[in-house]
Symmetry: C2
Subunit: 404 residues, 2 copies
């Protein structure tokens, strides 16, 4: 019989059952509706039928960019509409005067963990100018905070690849040094070389056996064409399930019949779509894509950085915003918004044993809500967050004793 | 020398000054950067340089509709796109089984006040079926909670006027019984009689000397035409400054040159626009309208009711959502979002002496933020809320001692 470190009694699961959850060595040993015989039990906690959610999964964040934990950095107006290249230049200036990533990433991680995030995928800027400095600092932050949150790292060419000499080699080097995925950025809009850009990142992914997560802001038919190219390459290389297109604004900009056709290609190739329902932008039609079999999941993306002044790291708020902007109102639709920041994000990230399930890691969030629908619309702030069975945050503050 | 009930020391104003605020008999007696001589001071509170915002103003809420404080009521899918008439029918069924307005309005008021709302404008359904029952119950709720929040009431024909016989007379009766404004609803889309609908409500407004606040969901050129008719009537009757068009989706749906032309009519007539940046809908372009001189202000509108499952009553969150959906990012833009839930809403509601100003009522909110921009993006939840100088809510909970 496995030793039980903590027995959580009277836990309300998302399916409505009230159960006892036994945790040993960081994993969920058993979930039972009636009291079970256990070996030695270290500690018993009565959850009083509070709702237990699986740890929230942030499918897209930038740990090297945020200004939380730093001075307020006012935004600049765009000179003539939104230009990724112009924003990258502004960002470099703002980051030049910023506190170290160690400080800012720690503040951002703590904010996210306090809201219930136990897993995240962070993109990290890599180009010839910053080299691997940001990457190395985010790796250090990941390691420093691993008792609270698990972080996947995407080597992200924020300044492009084809038009940023030396970046392809740096991306490859980052992957060899432990980056979990290789990223990309607007092969047409930024690099003006769709095949050159995709050759580089699919080449690295193929050679190093890692996944891909591409930022795609390119709109309309151009963006759709790029999505099709990515789906085709994914299928040809057998990378299904390991490729994400982040944002994919184009899917929110073209007629529904074109979205339908593209959705089938994505589903067939096993390419997932990440959205954060971004501000004033069009974004992919979530239900249409999901009905076609595409995994559409969510993440916070930029949080109070040079790209975006908003965000508080709360993935239940992100689910609310996605539901709000998508016009979700039925219980089934609200559950979809919830799935996008939990099970579906976990699937896109390839997380094993995810969820409040026997044998899986004991990552969960305890809060006062009757069900997931209420969790999404009310987003109650008092939350207890557990990572591998240990309390890491309570009522919005990190429990420092949880750090080893 | 006026007697001082409470001296608030070290208050950070929104302009950055750190001052002492002296409150006597519910009003702000003085604001001073250096200690002043006062007569007897009842109590001194050191705010420790926390930010002091003027009490938040909810320009549009429905106190008779919310299900907070009641069972969860799942939403139904629309049968074929959004139809106001169909939603009204669903709502009547859901409300038939709901707890009394006294219970639900109290829960909604407490949620809003806990977030810092000290003033609101509530629409209340009136039609031949419900008669004045909802109105009377909201009047009672307004009176029961007047120590915490001041409520304006709009007599709102949720089932139409021309197509709902007897409603015009009931609206008039409600105004005679104390409703502050007369409402309207889609003169074309709901009643199919623009002049008939507007004759009725402008007639009541003119006869009884009250303001007007019309729900207008009608889209495209039709909605623009109705907006023009409302502006024309407002100007002809000299009602400038007393008329609001709520929602005005059409302004978000037509080309910018048409919005420009309409904006000039609205500005000239003194008609304000209310928006809550509603979910998946198009909504008015806030900056364009404001630049033309139109007062565009905000409110929460539906909060967890039959129309909308979302909302937590927090007007700083509403400001965030409006900024987010409008693509606001500069400090000036974020300040605009803040103004929409404070000074501009107060202006639309005709509130005298609004703001943290000498001689005005001592309605304010104290929280941890460096400035209004941070208040909008971070929406820190620990807040102390003062109504007429008395603490009415702290850290999300109503201070019950404040009730007489």
């Amino acid at each position: 019989m496995t030793a039980i470190d903590t027995l959580f009694r009277n836990a309300r699961l998302t399916d409505g059952r009230v159960v006892d959850i036994a945790v040993g060595d960081g994993d969920i040993v058993s979930i039972a509706a009636t009291p079970q015989a256990h070996g030695a039990v270290g500690e018993t906690r009565d959850l009083g039928q509070r709702l237990v959610l699986p740890g929230l999964v942030d499918g897209h964040i930038h740990l090297d960019k945020g200004f939380i934990g730093d001075e307020w950095k006012p935004h600049r107006p765009c000179t003539a509409g939104f230009s990724v290249r112009e924003r990258v230049r502004f960002e470099k200036e703002a980051l030049a005067g910023a506190r170290p990533i160690a400080v800012r990433a720690a503040a951002l991680i703590d904010l996210c963990v306090a809201h219930g995030t136990t897993q995240m995928r962070s993109h990290v800027d890599i180009d010839a100018q910053v080299g691997l400095r940001n990457f190395e600092q985010v790796v250090a932050a990941r390691d420093d905070h691993r008792d609270k949150v698990s972080v996947q790292i995407v080597a992200f060419p924020q300044s492009g690849i084809v038009t940023s000499p030396g970046t392809a080699e740096l991306l490859d080097e980052a992957v060899r040094a432990g980056a979990d995925l290789v990223g990309g950025l607007d092969p047409a809009g930024h690099d003006a070389d769709i095949d050159g850009h995709l050759d580089a990142i699919f080449g690295i992914a193929d050679r190093r056996g890692v996944g891909i997560d591409i930022h795609l802001h390119d709109g309309g038919q151009l963006g759709i064409f790029e999505i099709e190219q990515i789906a085709r390459r994914t299928k040809a290389l057998g990378h299904g399930g390991k490729v994400t297109i982040s944002h994919a604004y184009a899917l929110g900009e073209v007629p529904r019949d074109i979205v339908q056709r593209t959705a089938h290609l994505l589903a067939e190739a096993g390419v997932a779509i990440l959205t954060n329902a971004p501000g004033a932008h069009a974004f992919p039609p979530v239900l249409l894509l999901r009905q076609a079999g595409v995994n559409v999941f969510a993440g916070n993306d930029n949080i109070r950085d040079s790209w975006w002044p908003y965000g508080d790291g709360d993935l239940l708020e992100r689910a609310m915003i996605i539901g709000y902007r998508s016009g979700f109102s039925t219980d089934s639709e609200l559950a979809t918004a919830f799935d996008m920041v939990t099970a579906d994000a976990a699937r896109a990230l390839g997380l094993a044993g995810y969820g409040v399930v026997e044998g899986g890691p004991a990552d969960f969030v305890v809060l006062d809500a009757r069900h997931v629908q209420e969790a999404v619309v009310a987003r109650p702030k008092p939350r207890d967050v557990y990572k591998r069975g240990r309390l890491v945050a309570r009522n919005g503050a990190i429990v420092t004793a949880a750090r080893k």
